[in-house]
Symmetry: C2
Subunit: 639 residues, 2 copies
């Protein structure tokens, strides 16, 4: 009933399901060499990862491990209960980065980090700096909020990254002992519960795939099946906060804490795929479809409520209170990638693209040393500049902060950027599927031998993507290209001079390609209006602009009046001059500063903008707030 | 510099400022004898107060005092840190109620409660069941969150109620010792801080007025002046949560926790009035004006955020996440009443009316045994029925709950209803001002002797208010009537047969009235549309209906489709047949269940409702959710 694909355990795959429509490619097989994402991988390599290393030291979160050895816990411990996990996520980022670039200095630093963690592991495999010592809460006594298994999950993901890129070293050994311990304690007949924060599920399944050890998969399945039966107890936010109100098989849509929900769903897909559990797989597929239709922001951001960092109800999508946590974006990409592999459906790659360009790319500032935790779609007040030398207390900041007291997001961005290539292309026995567009190369082995392509593009600045065959075989094979859902009209594919129109979905070109053959995909990236579903109350009478995969926004620094809150837009005014997107912006007419709800029969509402409409440049959403304090909105009222 | 009005200390005044445009009348001087509010006072007398008595016992919150005496604290303590305060608020409600009705059985029960509290007071006057004992947090060691001074504030208000209605008994003695202790500890040179939750300020000023002891006023002034300088430390929600970010004199609008903000503002008005501090008074006046224009719901509800139970930014007023806590409604009424007395401006009585009919009247269910804590304007899902025999964990419930783990609201409603008369009328040397309309009587003493009126009305069912002079003097005196701001057109006043039109504001009739003279006020209560300020993004393209002071709502139990979330309203369809208000409701047209943001040039938006428009009855907002689980919305999309 359960598969583990031993063939893939030693390639540099982010995930490696044993079955599925598409096969993953490792970060060694998909290389990004420049452009929008290449720049960000470079920023990650030169700045973001080191920034995270500096801060986990500065905050004492690595020091917690030293303190454990020195017997200085609990007194010397710093950070929240889940601080260990950020060290593990950082190590995962470093491991992928070392795999990607062979950075030897970073490899030294990774080993040094692992050397400080290793001695903290107890004889039975238990590993956590926050529990179990005299003066600390006992092991597994606070499963709802303790995050012990969540920390293991990140340890296991880090170990998989290390194992697949470098080999079976000390980190993998630590992870194996932790995973064995976990199966011992939480297996059948053990503690019949789950962790308040899902993550162990994806960690265990991938570790099972990596080690070819089915008991880890079985343990993940136990966690999936136990959850949703009220095993964690109630809390003010309701059991849906940690998805313990309804078994995931029975849920209708994602609810509760958005990071937890997306991580859990990703783990459920992993379990479903490895155990041939079609019911579970299709339940998650349906829930995601519902969530995308009714609980997702234009940016791909998930989570409408600050309270509980949670999904809202259907069509509860307020721009100004969008939480859209960066980590929920990571969770959504984890999930959509797994479903893309399982089903091959391009809609998952569409959402990955949207989330990459408008959540993941938004989180780090241009400096690579500041990050958004939440990603609002409407900033009403310019707010305060985050301190540069201390961690921000507040998840929701109007400007990016260098670090947070709860700082899950920076290391999550780092590991995502370091492993980005895997999301961009996949393979089948028939050929290569290109899902995301960036300059680079893709190679894979078909039955007939190695094939390869190189990609040249300035996407998303323009929509031209040129693919050249660099390695081929003597029989037909596929180059499949995703045409994004937003490219409703005007996409074309040119294969060696033959042009044809292409609608949204997958265009598969099957040819006996020769080296040097080119395929030119042209996507209509010109700016266009977007209108919201009329069931979204908070967006009624407002329009947004997208340009290719980029959501655009109106930022106060570009606005004459300086006030985005009273802005109105002329829907006849959109221009796009090679990426310089402008619209005409006015200001809502004179309204009283008294009671704001009036009988229209007695007191007429304002009829239009009183200021001149002025052409105003829109900024890509991901680039906002790089020019000092500002206000911003994605959705603009039409009158 | 500071006044205390000794003349008023023994009348049954809710508050008794020494100066001001209008003088308060006691609950002995304004009697409500029936109608909308008489029924609710009756429900309070027969059911709500006893319900609260039962629950503070059941929850162990009175038992905490017994446990203190028996030396069973902290082990035996139940409830949150502020549980003592609910016992005090209940006692305040009982004290006013005993004053109003002379209920001897209730008087017995009040004395019994006070007898259980008295022995807990320590030798130096300190009184709290949650702090200072071995195993408890030390006295005043958690000022940001401990609520010790907040509890004193409610104790002082209860003592004032008791003192003014019954006399200087044990409760007043307890309060005096606590107040003296407080001045000792927190006076100049003492602990230079404040309580995280304002309330002590209103308590101290009123106790100063009652006792004619200026040091209590001085202490309140110290608390007002100290606050806003970061004395409480930072927290994730930001210092604005407890109004410690900006001194109240410098604030521009209410921000942070809405109950704290309104209680603090009420205390600031009290201090300003008693110390001739015009700057402070006008600062609060300006802040309230801004808050009413930009941060208040149609219902009068305040607080747009569940996170931190807080005010949002300007025009951040989402219906579906309206927190609009019942206690913030109480706080708003406390504040508006003080400003009404200080300035005489009818806009404060307007907001009191709106808040009474749409927040205070909404909180208790028809049974008087269930209460809303939050008062949303759009309930998206029918949700769960609250348990009847245990306290709800969740402040935001879709149906009223009998009690809450944090149960500030039921006792706050009880004390407000018991003392309601004082809000309805005031006096000056010139005569009587009637601010709210209910059947009943108002009496006062002018220089020339006693004057009195009786009021007959079915308001708000209809707009006819008949005032008859029941006691008079041989010289001209005023009967002043408020014409509500919503009565833009059509209000008339008929004095002994002479009819004249009246616009919103105050209509003052100055006559040498004879006993039996009548004044007939006719208010145009017929239902009318209300349109929102166009700066409120979440309400764009939506209309609401008001009928007189009542906000109306669409409840799913009245709706054929059952789905308020997709409802649209025909703005030509409003009818009002003697209070049966109907509108035509359809349903938003077919929309895809896929990605909800589309290019209108490619995919047309739905153009109108697909179902037949059907006449549908609207329900007064205060009456919703008395017919089982339902969904509800106040604002209805027009297409």
């Amino acid at each position: 009933m359960s598969h583990v694909n031993t063939a893939s355990t030693m390639s540099e795959h982010l995930v490696s399901p044993s079955t599925g429509t598409l096969q993953p490619l490792g970060i060694d097989q998909v290389r990004i060499t420049g452009g929008f994402w290449g720049e960000r991988q470079q920023l990650n390599a030169t700045t973001i990862i080191e920034h995270c290393e500096k801060w986990v030291e500065k905050m004492g979160w690595v020091g917690n491990f030293d303190a454990a050895i020195a017997g200085r816990l609990p007194g010397a411990r710093t950070g929240r209960q889940f601080a260990d996990s950020d060290v593990y996520k950082l190590i995962e980022a470093m491991a992928w980065e070392i795999g990607r670039t062979g950075d030897l200095a970073m490899d030294e630093r990774l080993r040094a980090l692992v050397d400080r963690i290793a001695p903290v592991q107890e004889a039975d495999g238990y590993l956590n700096t926050n529990f179990g010592r005299r003066g600390q809460v006992g092991r597994y006594e606070d499963l709802p909020h303790g995050h012990e298994l969540y920390c293991y999950g990140h340890l296991l993901q880090a170990a998989v990254a290390r194992g697949r890129t470098t080999g079976d070293d000390l980190l993998v050994q630590i992870a194996r002992r932790a995973a064995d311990h976990l199966c011992e304690v939480f297996g059948d007949g053990g503690i019949e519960s789950v962790c308040g924060h899902p993550e162990i599920e994806v960690g265990l399944v991938e570790f099972a795939r990596y080690t070819n050890e089915p008991k880890y998969l079985q343990q993940a399945k136990l966690f999936i099946d136990r959850r949703g039966h009220g095993v964690l107890g109630d809390l003010e936010l309701g059991r849906s906060y940690f998805q313990d109100d309804i078994p995931i098989r029975k849920s209708r849509a994602f609810a509760g804490h958005a990071v937890r929900a997306t991580y859990l769903a990703a783990g459920a897909v992993d379990v479903a795929v490895e155990t041939d559990d079609e019911e579970l797989l299709h339940s998650v597929i349906d829930q995601l479809a519902h969530t995308v239709a009714a609980r997702t922001y234009l940016t791909g951001g998930m989570g409408s409520r600050h309270e509980g960092e949670a999904f809202g109800g259907d069509f509860e999508l307020p721009s100004d209170r969008a939480y859209a946590e960066t980590c929920a974006g990571v969770g959504s990409i984890m999930l959509n990638y797994r479903l893309l592999l399982a089903t091959g459906e391009p809609r998952y790659a569409d959402l990955i693209e949207r989330t990459l360009f408008n959540v993941i790319a938004t989180a780090p500032g241009d400096d690579g040393q500041s990050f958004y935790y939440t990603n609002t779609l409407h900033q009403r007040e310019p707010g305060e500049i985050a301190p540069t030398d201390e961690a921000s207390m507040r998840a929701a900041s109007s400007l990016r902060a260098p670090w947070y007291e709860v700082s899950c997001c920076p290391t999550n961005v780092a590991r995502t950027l370091a492993s980005l290539g895997s999301y961009f292309a996949t393979a089948t026995a028939e050929g290569i599927q290109l899902h995301q567009y960036a300059p680079g190369t893709v190679t894979t082995e078909l039955d007939g031998g190695a094939v390869g392509i190189s990609v040249a593009t300035e996407y998303p600045n323009n929509g031209e993507v040129t693919i050249e065959v660099t390695d081929t075989i003597d029989e037909p094979w596929d180059i499949a290209l995703r045409v994004p859902a937003w490219a409703k009209e005007g996409a074309t594919v040119n294969v060696n001079g033959t042009i044809r129109n292409a609608g949204p979905g997958t265009v598969t070109l099957r040819e006996t390609f020769a080296v040097g053959d080119t395929v030119q995909l042209s996507l209509p990236v010109e700016a266009h209006w977007v209108e919201p579903d009329p069931r979204i109350d908070s967006l009624r009478g407002q329009l947004a602009v997208e340009r290719g995969p980029l959501v655009m926004c109106l930022e106060s620094v570009d606005l004459q009046s300086g006030d985005v809150n009273a802005a109105t837009v002329d829907r006849g005014s959109l221009t796009d001059d090679s990426g310089r997107v402008t619209v005409s912006i006015g200001s809502i007419g004179d309204v009283s500063d008294e009671w704001p709800y009036l009988d229209p029969a007695v007191m007429g509402a304002p009829t239009g903008p009183t200021t001149e409409m002025a052409p105003t440049t829109l900024t890509p959403y991901h680039a906002w707030a790089n020019r000092g304090p500002s206000t911003m909105r994605v959705w603009m009222p039409t009158g």
